[in-house]
Amino acid sequence: MTQEQQEQKQIRVGVLALQGAFAEHIILLNTLPQVSEAVAVRNAEEISKIDALVIPGGESTTMALIAERSGFWPALQAFVRTHPTWGTCAGLILLSECITSGGTLKGDQKLLGGLGISIKRNAFGTQKESFEAGLHVEGLEDAKRLFPGVFIRAPVIDEILKPEEVEVVAKLEQDYGKTPKGTIVAVKQGHLLGSAFHPELTHDNRMHLFFVKMALDWIAKHQK
């Protein structure tokens, strides 16, 4: 990190800690000088004290049900509508507008929405079809270097519903099983970022840096 970056404004990033790999995100966020503190968020009180949110990998149905039953859902949805939020894997599903396939809680699965995309859950199949793949992520620091994409029972972005707003950030670079090369696996829309893979399962914090910078820019623009 350069001196200039260290003098930048810092933000407090929360990681949704209802279920899943939240601790892993906190560890990587804490490696960034732009993050004053990364904390676990489980209720309305805790979410009121953060500037940006990461929704980790885990089970999207589980997270939605826990948030709903503990009365946290409205506060969570309100935050996601107005603050920088990044969803990885299960988080991407929760941020999407609709699920086209792979969801079994027929219509019962609640989504936070916001990203103008539709999602195919468990697109690659079961755990046997989980894999790791190198990705070129648009806008990443040291962009020539492949980012290690960890796909675990991963969803993919089936369709972009709002092409004028949604920006594609990463695509698959070869076929994986029945999922063809070119399938979209990361998108950006305004203050929202979504990725089908798990940057929290790598020792590479460039995606986290990407999100934190995006959040800082957005906050700077919208706080004026």
Binding site: E24, I27, L28, F131, R153, H203
Partner: protein
């Protein structure tokens, strides 16, 4: 495919582990296997025996389901050989839910593992709840693309399983009892052993590795991390939201609930409560709220039957101890009392022998869960009663020199009756 510490499992890995040339590994590395376990953290994995229960579990917020034919409570009750479940049932559950599906195979039964893997199960549990297929060896889990979870009672056992390729560990409790005490014991044991290892220098660690029969490199990694080097869930005996939160506060990453949910009064409600408890394990207010009105915990479970092993073990020991005492008396003090009547001395000795033999029989039955669950249930009380009648009546008849007792009771009948009961007890074991 060898062991690699799961990524970002502990904070110390963070900045220190950042690598500028992060390579993209091959397909289905250990990182991918252990990664799914990391996604399950903070969640509840529920035992289900059919699609209906799987849907209840998913709707309650389970992060995965364990498909099995009988929950541990019933396996304990029924006895016999417990095997992998019907593939058809597993496939139906996989098709019915969107969350990961796990299934159990017998210890060492790698063909069951191949079959389960081919069904597209997300995780395999090489489980001691089923009857072991190999008494010496576990499955070589590196050979499989699908990840494995294995049970442990102590650090050595956990690290041996990880060395064999397990990508997730569960600290075993006493499955099927609704009693959390064993889960707590083993969780505490593992924690204490890790703390001990953390204080050791390298030469001590070499010795400690030998002592607990753990691979040195994994022990060293564990000591460095200060925790098990893979995701660790609590399993067995978790029946209430408080139990689940207890295991979380003790440092487990999540919880398996077996018979605790679907053997309780209101499964859906209890399942939801346990899910909330695992998320809000540090918030007593939430725990109090979700613990309200849950109905009966673990109804109809043979909790009374399980202490039977201890019951009969204790009785066997008692019978044995008394047997030695009577035998000693027969050899030393009895001659005077019966005026060296050789017949009476001989009878006394055979009564003491029968008593001693059957103390061992009681102890043996008490140590076999399979026997206790089936024929032992009848055999143990029969043997106890038979010994008391047979040996007891002989002792009484011999000691009763002035015939006060035998005049009032027809004790002579008790001896052959006791003998018949003993014979019945032994034959009952064959059933």
């Amino acid at each position: 495919m060898t062991f690699a510490t799961p990524t970002n499992l502990v904070p110390a890995q963070g900045a220190a582990a950042l690598s500028a040339n992060s390579e993209v590994p091959q397909v289905a590395s250990f990182n991918v296997k252990a990664g799914l376990a990391q996604m399950l953290k903070g969640g509840v994995i529920m035992d289900v025996i059919n699609v209906e229960q799987a849907l209840i579990a998913e709707a309650a917020g389970a992060c995965a389901v364990m498909a099995l034919e009988r929950v541990p409570a019933d396996i304990r009750k029924d006895g016999g050989v417990a095997r992998m479940s019907d593939p058809r049932m597993i496939r139906e559950i996989i098709n019915a839910v969107s969350i990961p599906v796990m299934a159990k195979v017998r210890i060492g039964h790698f063909v069951e593992a191949q079959i389960i893997e081919s069904l597209g199960v997300d995780y395999i549990d090489e489980s001691e709840v089923l009857t072991p297929a190999d008494e010496a060896n576990h499955i070589n889990k590196h050979d499989h693309k699908v990840p494995f979870v294995c049970g442990c009672k102590n650090l050595g056992e956990a690290l041996r399983r990880i060395n064999e390729g397990a990508a997730m560990i569960r600290t075993k409790g006493e499955a099927g009892t609704g009693n959390v005490v064993e889960a707590v014991r083993h969780c505490r044991t593992v924690k204490a052993e890790i703390r001990k290892a953390q204080l050791m220098d390298d030469s001590e660690l070499f010795t400690y590795a030998k002592e607990i029969q753990a691979p040195y490199h994994l022990l060293k990694e564990t000591a460095k991390l200060g925790r098990l080097p893979v995701v660790n869930f609590a399993a067995g005996g978790v029946a209430t939201p408080a139990d689940a939160a207890l295991m979380m506060q003790l440092g487990c990453d999540g919880v398996f609930v077996g018979s605790g949910v679907f053997k309780s009064g209101d499964p859906a409600k209890r399942a939801r409560a346990i899910v909330q408890a695992v998320t809000h394990f540090n918030d007593p207010k939430v725990l109090a709220e979700v613990s309200e009105d849950l109905g009966e915990a673990m109804v109809g479970i043979n909790i009374s039957e399980i202490p039977k092993d201890q019951l009969y073990a204790a009785r066997g020991c008692l019978v044995g101890g008394l047997g030695v005492m009577t035998a000693a008396y027969g050899a030393h003090g009895l001659e005077k009392r019966v005026n060296n009547d050789a017949g009476k001395l001989k009878a006394w000795n055979s009564a003491a022998n029968i008593q001693l033999i059957h103390s061992v029989a009681l102890l043996a039955i008490s140590q076999s869960p399979a026997l206790l669950a089936r024929s032992g249930r009848f055999a143990a009380p029969l043997i106890l009663l038979g010994t008391t009648l047979f040996s007891g009546s002989i002792y009484t008849l011999i000691l009763d020199t002035d015939k006060t007792i035998s005049r009032n009771f027809r004790l002579g009948l008790a001896t052959p009756l006791g003998g018949v009961v003993l014979i019945a007890g032994w034959f009952a074991l064959v059933l």
